[in-house]
């Protein structure tokens, strides 16, 4: 069994700052991490390694420095790591990204067929949740998004049963491999790797693929050229011309009273709702 995990190196969003004058992202010095949602995908793949002896290949597309994310993934126990990096990929939107990754996965499958592709639910920098389904559609893989649990895998029948989070419930789905799974968050905990894995990760020679190496059939479908979406403008939201009305008072008690008076005067509906529910509660208490 062979599984591929797609991960992305992202800036640690907690530490992103916007330049107050130019409204540009200040990337310098912002540490990068593996997209936190991808850790659930990595752990689920590694559990298949533990249980079924699956080989785990981790794949990322990004600048040369994205090799750090791959090396980190290797310390958890992944077997192989491939960095897809080429100037041709720069400026890719989700459609162009899924094209490049799908091409690379096809190439990976030539040495050993791929049974499951894992992705995180979404990334914390793009938050689109579009690349995983894009890969599945392009490679004609059965698409299983928001998976909360892998219930069973029958390797002989090449069948898999999963729980998929839907609105208001959970779908129990049975499908055939190859398939693509995007893992829901909080479904597992990424392991601490072993010392052996750490040593191996440090020594491991990463595979680095350009578009040509990855067998990308048509470079015009990559990068900015292959992206139908165009970012026209990036901006900080304008502050409302009317700032919040300050509620002041001699004491906190006076402040609180002033706030309630102000809200009730401006929104009689809020006063009515609160009083009605308070009255209903008191009747409930009396009965």
């Amino acid at each position: 069994m062979h599984v591929v995990v797609c991960i992305k190196q992202v800036p640690d969003s907690a530490q992103i700052r916007v330049h107050p004058v130019t409204n540009t992202i200040m990337r310098q010095g912002v540490p990068t991490i593996i997209n936190p949602y991808d850790l659930f995908a990595l752990e689920e793949a590694l559990r298949l390694k533990d249980k079924l002896g699956a080989k785990v290949t981790v794949l990322t597309m990004g600048p040369p420095m994205a090799d750090q994310a791959l090396r980190k993934a290797l310390t958890f126990g992944c077997d192989e790591a491939i960095l897809l990096s080429d100037r041709a990929f720069a400026g890719s939107d989700t459609l162009a990204t899924s094209y490049a990754l799908a091409s690379a996965i096809t190439k990976i499958g030539q040495s050993q067929p791929v049974d499951i592709v894992f992705c995180g639910k979404q990334t914390i920098d793009g938050d689109t949740a579009q690349v995983g389904p894009g890969i599945a559609t392009r490679l004609n893989l059965q698409q299983l998004t928001y998976v909360s649990k892998i219930v069973s895998i029958d390797q002989a029948a090449r069948e898999i049963v999963v729980h998929r989070r839907a609105e208001g419930g959970v779908q129990v789905l049975k499908t055939s491999m190859p398939c693509l799974i995007t893992m829901l968050e909080d479904t597992n905990h990424i392991r601490f790797g072993t010392m052996d894995d750490a040593f191996r990760a440090a020594r491991y020679e990463l595979t680095k693929w350009t578009a040509t190496d990855a067998g990308v059939p048509d470079v015009s479908q990559c990068g900015l050229r292959g992206s139908p979406t165009v970012v026209k403008k990036v901006f900080a939201p304008t502050a409302k011309t009317v700032k919040a009305t300050p509620i002041t008072g001699d004491s906190m008690e006076a402040q609180a009273k002033s706030l309630i008076d102000t809200i009730f005067a401006a929104h009689p509906g809020i006063q009515e709702d609160l009083e009605n529910s308070a009255a209903a509660n008191s009747q409930g208490a009396q009965s």
Partner: protein, 361 residues
């Protein structure tokens, strides 16, 4: 599978080729799951109506479902919320949501009737489906939009969304492919008024697929017992806390005020990451979008990621010790001070006020 409707974008000019210029009209995917329409569908018809009026075209809904009288009811609701017509695809294969038949069906309707804009709710179903459809059609898809407009120079849709983890906004266009697709999260757009008795046209479209050709099977559907999600998104009163509360023990002050108001409680992303509250109580771009009558934010600085999730509230009260906190840019009322000290006082003031009313009746 369905043939791609559009050629790949060859360059980056703004000229729309003739074949794509034939794409007309604004569509909304009406999300039906297990006989129920997700309300985000009506919110999108309201938004689609505005875009269509600007373009001078019609707004149509698309329903994919198993044959059922409920579909006619859903179509009538679509008309009541402002749709001019509904494409209805009924087939037993569509009884449960599965990516392959839904993708096949929606792409088939798009390729036959050619809309210039297709809006989809950013639910688990909608995100799954919209991604597959956009990839199949080789077109642009902008996720989780917080604003939609038309650029009249190019007749293209300007889709605005938070970017870089919610610290900035960006406006995205799809210039060289059709339809222009966008997803919008539930409760981001206002519910349009419902006009009873409005009618519209229904066009039936066949799915043309066999169950044998669908590999994925639905074995079961386990209903959630706990529906906190719906409670937060549709709650009229919400009290939420942020990092300004200092430590997890202080979150009780939020819960106390909420109890007096009969409000739901929520919090920011850092609180979820810190394990103070469950992910289902997260308010903001990556959590729940809320539209309550009254929202009280305690110790929340008001980053964009939070702002876009709460801006639909009728009345926002912010308590923060930093007078320059961004939350005061969009809150209606500002209490500058330590939320940990102010919250108990406010809770008591509300309790006394509402108790006084209780006695008076």
């Amino acid at each position: 599978m369905t043939e791609p409707a559009t050629a790949r974008p060859a360059g980056r000019t703004t000229e729309l080729d003739e074949r794509l210029a034939a794409y007309k009209g604004v569509w909304v995917y009406i999300e039906m799951e297990r006989g129920h329409v997700h309300p985000v569908s009506w919110e999108l018809i309201g938004e689609g109506r505005k875009l269509a009026d600007r373009l001078g075209v019609e707004v149509w809904g698309v329903i994919l479902a198993a044959p059922s009288p409920a579909n006619q009811v859903a179509a009538a609701e679509a008309f009541a919320h402002g749709a001019d017509g509904v494409y209805l695809m009924e087939d037993p294969i569509l009884a449960d949501y599965r990516t392959v038949p839904y993708n096949h069906g929606l792409c088939a309707v798009v390729n036959q009737f050619k809309p210039e804009i297709l809006l989809v709710g950013a639910t688990t179903l909608g995100r799954d489906l919209a991604s597959a459809v956009a990839t199949t059609l080789f077109t642009g898809l902008t996720a989780d939009c917080t604003g939609l407009a038309i650029d009249m120079d190019t007749r293209s849709m300007a889709a605005t969304r938070p970017t870089f983890g919610g610290s900035l906004l960006c406006t995205i266009h799809t210039l060289k492919a059709r339809p222009q697709m966008a997803t919008v999260r539930p409760r981001v757009m206002a519910m349009p008024p419902r006009v009873a008795g409005k009618t519209g046209q229904i066009i039936n479209v066949p799915l043309a697929m066999r169950e044998e050709d669908v590999i994925t099977k639905v074995l079961d559907y386990i209903l959630d017992r706990d529906s906190n999600e719906a409670q937060l998104a549709f709650a009229d009163f919400i009290v939420a806390g942020g990092r300004g509360l200092g430590k997890v023990e202080n979150f009780r002050l939020v819960t106390d005020l909420a109890a007096v108001l009969g409000a739901e409680v929520g919090g920011t992303r850092p609180l979820v990451q810190g394990g103070w509250i469950g992910a289902d109580r997260q308010i903001g771009q990556t959590g729940k979008t809320i539209r309550p009558k009254l929202y009280i934010a305690a110790g929340i600085s008001g980053a964009i990621q939070h702002r876009v999730g709460v801006e639909g509230a009728d009345c926002i009260v912010a308590i923060n010790s930093d007078p320059n906190a961004p939350i005061f840019d969009f809150a209606h009322y500002a209490l500058v001070g330590d939320a940990v000290k102010i919250l108990p006082v406010l809770t008591e003031a509300f309790r006394a006020r509402l108790a006084a009313h209780r006695k008076s009746i």
